[in-house]
């Protein structure tokens, strides 16, 4: 089949969604499909820019390319699913959350002016049209599917996506907690730093870049975590696999996260995941005392959870291995079969 995978691109930003889109194209090609990534820059501010930028996708003609039909379009996240196609499947990573569950929170975008409120509603209308017309909508997690149901009354089948391809292995249950994430406020790295401040026996390595990095580094310095909190920035695949292989556990607790690949990556490295009870999607795979620890979103509770793993490495090993069995069930063969069915 000729398949166009549609994904927006925020210039100079690369994260899980971009890796996911690249992997999907690669896996489709590996199965003899002619697959191509179709992308466009996306800027969602100020004012109504979110709508005009989203609308660009609506103007694309992906019925054919170079005189040959495109058989299938797989759209991933807002606003790429606004694309028109007779055979459109959406594998939803997330909607524009500022218009839904993040509205009127500190992570929201829209204020209380009549124009802002109406812009938010216009995003809903666009979503309803664009997602409603798709032949099938898959969501990467129950959390994403539930949000879609709550926000627009649309149903989606839950289909997690496999993690990126890395040289996953377990070499040791070392002395540090690993965080792999984009550094912005919603990812809540500050909670981990505050937990470290409360327990001098804990160490962490923070992988990733983002707009919150300077604040986080200041926070770490302010708590006197020198040497116990290491910020690596973005690392290459080999370095990332090595960190997974040697860490004690992986911290992953964004606020009401869609899903995220990190828990599966941790599991494939036989590492337990420490998360919080309000983390959303990760809770679908991180089960307390079976594949990791789920604690209250408070520094003391997180510090206690991490300390437990420091003191009970057998638990870390057992829960990491349970997670691995879970992660191995998610395969590209099965997901691509469902996408193309």
């Amino acid at each position: 089949m000729r398949i166009a995978v549609c994904a927006p691109q925020v210039p100079f930003v690369r994260g899980g969604a971009e890796i996911f889109a690249d992997d999907l194209v690669g896996e489709l090609r590996a199965r003899e499909h002619e697959a191509e990534l179709v992308t466009m820059p996306f800027k969602w501010y100020p004012g109504t820019r979110v709508l005009t930028q989203a609308f660009l996708w609506r103007l694309l003609d992906l019925d054919e390319a170079d005189g040959r039909a495109i058989d299938l379009v797989i759209a991933t996240k807002f606003p790429s699913y606004a694309v028109r196609h007779r055979n459109k499947v959406v594998w939803l990573l997330h909607q524009f959350r500022q218009a839904y569950d993040l509205d009127r929170t500190e992570l929201g975008q829209f204020g209380e002016s009549a124009d802002d409120r109406a812009t938010r509603r216009a995003v809903h209308r666009l979503d309803k049209v664009a997602l409603g017309e798709a032949r099938k909508v898959f969501a990467t997690s129950r959390n994403v599917a539930d949000r879609l149901e709550r926000g627009l009354g649309l149903a989606a089948e839950v289909m997690p996506h496999p993690p990126q391809s890395l040289d996953y292995r377990c070499e040791a249950y070392g002395d540090f907690i690993l965080s792999v994430n984009r550094l912005d406020r919603a990812k809540r790295i500050d909670l981990l730093l505050e937990a470290l401040a409360g327990n001098p026996a804990l160490r962490c390595v923070v992988v990733g870049e983002g707009p919150d990095r300077a604040r986080l580094e200041q926070l770490a310095a302010g708590h006197g975590l020198d040497g116990r909190a290491e910020f690596t920035g973005r690392v290459d695949d080999d370095a990332l696999a090595r960190l997974y292989a040697r860490c004690l556990a992986v911290y992953y607790a964004p606020v009401d996260e869609d899903f995220g690949m990190v828990p599966y990556e941790a599991f494939l490295s036989e590492k337990p995941v420490v998360t919080t009870s309000d983390a959303g999607g990760p809770l679908e795979v991180v089960t307390d005392r079976r594949t990791g620890l789920v604690c209250e979103p408070a520094p003391a509770a997180l510090a206690a959870a991490c300390a437990h793993l420091v003191e009970h490495r057998d638990d870390a090993r057992e829960w990491g291995r349970s997670g691995k069995r879970l992660a191995e069930q998610v395969s590209w063969d099965a997901t691509i079969d469902r996408l193309l069915s």
Partner: protein, 410 residues
């Protein structure tokens, strides 16, 4: 965003006052509401939008129409036939010319002539005899054109469109009350058939009484519960006498009752009946309550009532075959027990939180939608003109079509 809100409110006794009392707490969680004081028609300052609840009662809604005339806004049209309201605002205030104009606007010269007949006492008041033929909704629809109309049924939406309304319409269900935990009233009957609400000629009481008499031939222990105030010109006692039900213990009569008693009486019923014809395009709080309780229900196959799902209400035709169908329906439902489909339907379609969310969406679109559309269109048009694509080109026409399709432009 601040919304001026014009509606009758408790302690006024009106279905729309109850409706707003139910809706407001949920609405206020989503939008800042500024309640208009009863009778105050001066436009509120510092509000982004005004919303007016319009029903057919001139006492409850006259001041709201006056406020609407001073500042157009979103109209929540609770019924389509507004003849009684318009008559109250014109004839009731010695404004004969206003009534003549309203009738002419509705039905042309013939309407004006009929209005003359009414004003000269040569014809009975049309608002009592044939309001459904002269709905007189024209002025309200005009005033709603700029900001939009909220209706509760497809029936009213279609009638508004047929009357030439070309503004925005949001169709939003009537919210449902959460049934209080009250015990069923101690009224026996096998079955107990209930008709609850203001009793007037359009509730088809004569047809219900005839059907009940016939039902008793098959169910000797059946009883009929009539609850509610009686309309001034409706001779209930006369009809009871005609069907030989005066003083019959099978007929249980209660006047207007308070909310808790109403729920308790409804709980006791095996079947609830809510017939209507002609319809003014109204919904029925009584029907919503009955469905919330999972009571088996019989309604007329007309207007909003006809739009109820088939698995939550039996619909009987109006006119020919009406009584036969009603007897059959009552006999069938007599032993039916509680309807889980009705409860599920109400939870799904009439949930007050969901309704409030739809109201908030309508308000936000009405207040800011045009500015947002303009901003998007201006962005697109500027980009097109910068590369030499004129506004009337086929390319931009196509762009406009896609914008409408995506719900971004109108």
């Amino acid at each position: 965003m601040r919304v001026g809100y014009y509606s009758p409110l408790p302690p006024e006794r009106s279905g729309i006052a109850d409706y707003s009392a139910l809706l407001l707490p949920e609405l206020e969680r989503r939008v800042e509401i500024v309640l208009a004081r009863h009778g105050r028609t001066k436009p509120q300052r510092d509000t982004d939008l005004a919303v007016y609840h319009v029903g057919n009662d001139p006492v409850a809604h006259g001041w709201i129409v006056e406020a609407l005339r001073r500042r157009p806004g979103v109209v929540v049209l609770h019924e389509f036939v507004l003849h009684h309201l318009v008559a109250g605002l014109t004839v009731g205030r010695r404004d004969a010319a206003g009534y003549l104009d309203a009738m002419e606007r509705d039905s042309g010269v013939v309407g004006r002539m009929l209005a003359h007949g009414v004003l000269d006492n040569r014809l009975p008041p049309l608002w009592e005899t044939r309001p459904e033929d002269f709905p007189l909704a024209g002025e309200i629809l005009d005033l709603a054109r700029e900001h939009g109309l909220i209706v509760h049924s497809r029936h009213v939406e279609e009638r508004a469109r047929a009357a030439g309304f070309d503004g925005r319409i949001w169709r939003i269900a009537h919210p449902a009350w959460r049934p209080p935990a009250v015990a069923p009233a101690g009224i026996e009957g096998e079955p107990l058939v209930g008709c609850l609400g203001h009793l007037n000629p359009s509730k088809r009481i004569p047809q219900l009484l005839e059907a009940f008499v016939r039902l008793r031939e098959r169910f000797p222990a059946a009883r009929l519960l009539l609850v509610g105030s009686t309309a001034a010109r409706f001779d209930l006692d006369g009809w009871l006498a005609r069907f030989d039900l005066t003083g019959d213990p099978a007929l249980v009569r209660e006047p207007y009752v308070e909310e808790t008693r109403l729920w308790s009486l409804m709980q006791a019923c095996d079947v609830c009946v809510s017939l209507r014809a002609p319809t003014m395009g109204e919904t029925s709080g009584s029907v919503i309550r009955a469905l919330s309780l999972g009571r088996p229900l019989v309604v007329s196959d007309i207007g909003w009532f006809a739009e109820l799902p088939d698995d939550v209400a039996v619909k009987v035709p109006v006119g020919e075959g009406e009584v036969d169908a009603l007897v059959d329906a009552l006999a069938r439902l007599a032993r039916g027990g509680e309807s889980s489909a009705a409860k599920e339907y109400v939870e799904r379609a009439h949930d007050v939180g969901r309704v409030a969310e739809q109201f908030a969406a309508a308000f936000e679109e009405a207040a800011g939608g045009e500015a947002v559309r303009d901003a998007v269109l201006s962005d697109v048009a500027r980009a097109a003109s910068e590369v030499g694509i004129p506004a009337d080109s086929p390319e931009l026409t196509e762009v406009g079509r896609r914008l409408r399709e995506a719900g971004v432009g109108e």
